[in-house]
């Protein structure tokens, strides 16, 4: 594949910089990966300085990020396997986007609220939600069985972009509650993708966020594809540059660099909680797998493109960094793998043993205050089912 993207310049004076053009990019059919973005850890595991963004992690924290990345990837691979084996109806893989999710997810403070799409399994992990929680949705047993307020992590949203408005409204509420302006202030992060950037709701969310100066970070994972459509079918303008039109800052970050994603998101969240309004973050990344397990990406992208992105793997660069800097040793890596084995093993057992919902659950929680129509249907259905008792059905 020729040289790796380590040729990216390591110093710069601006907020963003331009990487050098590489020969291997000529072969790409998809988007040209020649962006200006914030990078703090190069694909070959070298720390890069940036004038506006820096991180100063302890060795323990570096190791923790690596552990997060590995575990969420392993959970994801296990989930795909569970789908292939018939235990899940569908799975939306996050493979390739681990750094964007762990970096932004770990940048959240406890009091911050997250509004995910349906692919934020890595953020879910960071928020302390049980990693088995989304699998009921993908199995068809429920619509997401976790308490959003317990973890400040809302339910997944499948209508593309709809959650960005909820996030902005929630952030407006933080403002009305007077919970901005201090270190203890609250902020919101809204996840969406490059495809969603075309949605009216995302536009309206940006309008409301700007107009009401809401404490929200609009975090776009540009993974280059909306199912089959490359980002060129969504926009001719780099997504982060759209922020200027709404009157707040936009920044593009190397979405495969967990350190940069952390630094940029933390900066944006802290600005929001201190009353400085919204930020649009574009995490420039790549969906390594299919859109979901129902998808066949070989129909719309070529292998060399995928190979190119493999060279930018978000986990490999952290491991290289840890090894080079002697922050972690073989025993640590083995322990992480063992942890991942244990956690994915638990996931596997959980999913395979997941009970089907009871028919009565069909009628539960349609309304907070109840309603006679559903009550009548429930009663009818109960009698109907009882009428089969003893018939061997």
């Amino acid at each position: 594949m020729g040289d790796k993207p380590s040729t990216r310049p390591r110093s710069g004076t601006g907020r963003t910089r331009r990487a050098s053009k590489r020969d291997d990019e000529v072969a790409l059919q998809g988007p040209t990966p020649d962006p200006e973005f914030v990078q703090l850890l190069s694909p070959d595991g070298e720390r890069v300085d940036h004038p506006d963004y820096s991180v100063d992690f302890t060795d323990e924290e570096y190791r923790g990020l690596y552990r997060d990345l590995v575990i969420v990837r392993r959970l994801d691979l296990e989930s795909t396997a569970l789908q292939r084996q018939g235990h899940l109806a569908i799975w939306a893989s996050l493979e390739g986007q681990e750094a964007a999710q762990i970096g932004s997810g770990r940048a959240l403070r406890k009091q911050d609220m997250a509004f995910p799409t349906y692919r934020e399994h890595g953020v879910l992990w960071c928020r302390g939600v049980d990693p088995t929680a989304p699998h009921g949705l993908f199995r068809g047993a429920d619509h997401g069985d976790w308490d959003p307020s317990e973890h400040n992590f809302n339910l997944y949203t499948l209508v593309i972009g709809a959650q960005t408005l909820h996030a902005v409204g929630y952030a407006m509420g933080i403002g009305y509650d007077g919970k901005v302006g201090t270190d203890d202030g609250e902020a919101v992060i809204a996840y969406f993708g490059d495809g969603a950037s075309s949605q009216g709701d995302v536009h309206e969310a940006c309008v409301f966020a700007g107009v009401y100066h809401a404490p929200v970070v609009l975090f776009c994972q540009n993974n280059q594809y909306a199912i089959s459509e490359p980002v060129e079918r969504q926009t001719r303008t780099p997504i982060y540059q759209r922020a200027a039109g709404y009157g707040f800052p936009g920044v593009r970050v190397d979405g495969n660099d967990v350190l940069a994603c952390y630094a940029v998101t933390r900066h944006a969240l802290d600005a929001a909680r201190h009353g400085q309004g919204p930020t649009l973050v574009e995490a420039y990344t790549y969906r390594m797998g299919p859109h979901t397990t129902t998808d066949d990406p070989t129909r719309y992208r070529n292998g060399s493109e995928v190979e190119t992105w493999k060279q930018r793997d978000p986990i490999a660069r952290v491991r290289t960094f840890l090894e080079k800097q002697k922050i972690a040793d073989d025993a640590f890596f083995a322990a992480v793998d063992a942890d991942a084995d244990r956690i994915t093993g638990r996931l596997r057992e959980y999913v395979i043993d997941m009970p089907d919902p009871t028919p009565e659950m069909l009628f539960e929680h349609v309304y907070a205050e109840g309603s006679p129509l559903q009550d009548a249907e429930r009663a009818w259905f109960r009698d109907y089912q009882a009428s089969f008792a003893g018939e061997g059905h």
Partner: protein, 337 residues
């Protein structure tokens, strides 16, 4: 109605519009979490002046002039409700509620169910609806079927100033999302409202009401058609026919027990609404009444509604909208069996 200076106490003659305005004022006073949001609802007081004076008295953080984006209004209201607020959104006209359709039917309606009861969204969507004001297209729609068809939403519509005043307050207090349909052609109709009466003294929000007793035929309507029912009953009385009139008030849930009770006595039913009849509320009511009152019916249930066309240009709306003659024609048909 806006400049009508009303003492905020005692029994008053109010228009429906003013009653809504005072009901919203009470809601804002009663609960600091109540917010009003919508296009032009603040400084202007809304294009129908329903929120007149409220931003002045409660401030820009309680009465929000929203960007011109209906999906944005409802979507951010959902987020505000998650945060503990009780937003009351105004859609400026019925036809403009459709840009918010996903947020209303997919997001707002389903959140309590999806979250297995962990998230409640006490959001009210106020929509001036119905025709008869000679307006340009998209300003005279009757969208109730869309919303009443969606589980998770409750849909109510007042027809009198008294109901307007109390029902809007009850809707704000409801923990479920409520689509609150306001018969815009009746905003200026007057009636008595006791402003000293507590909300708790009002009838339940989701109850229908027999508002005129009769013996020969039951006629059911709601919102803008209630006046047509009243006029029809007056005219029928001159012909010696006694109509019993029911105001549904709530379209989701439907409270049909009073209708069943009435039909068992009269044996005849006519259902009236401005919405097109095809799969409309009258279809559901006819089906249920046929099931419940099959042996009492002397004739098939008759329906009077808007035609199954797009809402016409306003010079044609008098032909589109149910009126006294069409209601009486339907009543006649129930006597032809």
């Amino acid at each position: 109605m806006a400049k009508q200076q009303i003492p905020l106490t005692g029994a008053q003659q109010l228009t429906i519009g003013k009653a809504l305005n005072l009901g919203l004022r009470r809601a804002l006073e009663d609960d600091p979490k109540v917010l009003l949001m919508g296009e032009d609802v603040g400084r202007l007081g809304g294009v129908f002046r329903i929120t007149d004076g409220l931003q002045k008295d409660f401030g820009e953080d309680r009465v929000l002039d929203s960007p011109l984006a209906e999906s944005g209004i409802v979507g951010t209201a959902i987020g505000l409700a998650m945060r503990g607020y009780r937003p009351v959104c105004e859609m400026q006209f019925d036809g403009f509620s459709y840009p918010a359709f996903d947020q209303v039917t997919n997001q707002l309606a389903k959140m309590h169910y999806r979250s297995r009861g962990r998230i409640t969204l006490p959001v009210v969507i106020r929509i001036p609806y119905g025709g008869g004001i000679g307006s340009v297209e998209h300003h005279s729609e009757s969208p109730e079927t869309y919303y009443a068809h969606t589980a998770g939403l409750k849909v109510v519509t007042p027809a009198t100033p008294r109901d307007a005043y109390f029902m809007v307050q009850q809707a704000v207090r409801c923990d479920d999302p409520v689509v609150f349909l306001e018969p815009k052609a009746r905003y200026y109709e007057k009636g008595e409202v006791d402003l000293d009466a507590p909300v708790a003294s009002a009838e339940p929000l989701f109850a229908s009401r027999v508002f005129r007793a009769g013996t020969d035929c039951t006629v059911v309507g709601y919102g803008p058609t209630i006046r047509v029912l009243r006029e029809s009953a007056d005219a029928a009385a001159e012909d010696g026919r006694s109509l019993e009139l029911v105001d549904l008030r709530s379209l989701s849930p439907l409270d049909l027990d009073p209708v069943y009770e009435s039909v068992r006595r009269t044996g005849r039913l006519v259902v009236v609404h401005e919405a097109p009849t095809n799969l409309g509320p009258s279809a559901e009511i006819a089906a249920r009444v046929t099931s419940e009152c099959f042996y009492s019916l002397e004739a098939p249930v008759q329906r009077v509604g808007g035609f199954n066309t797009p809402y016409p240009a306003s010079k044609l709306e008098e032909h589109f909208l149910p009126d006294l003659d069409r209601v009486l024609d339907a009543v006649d048909r129930t006597f032809a069996y």
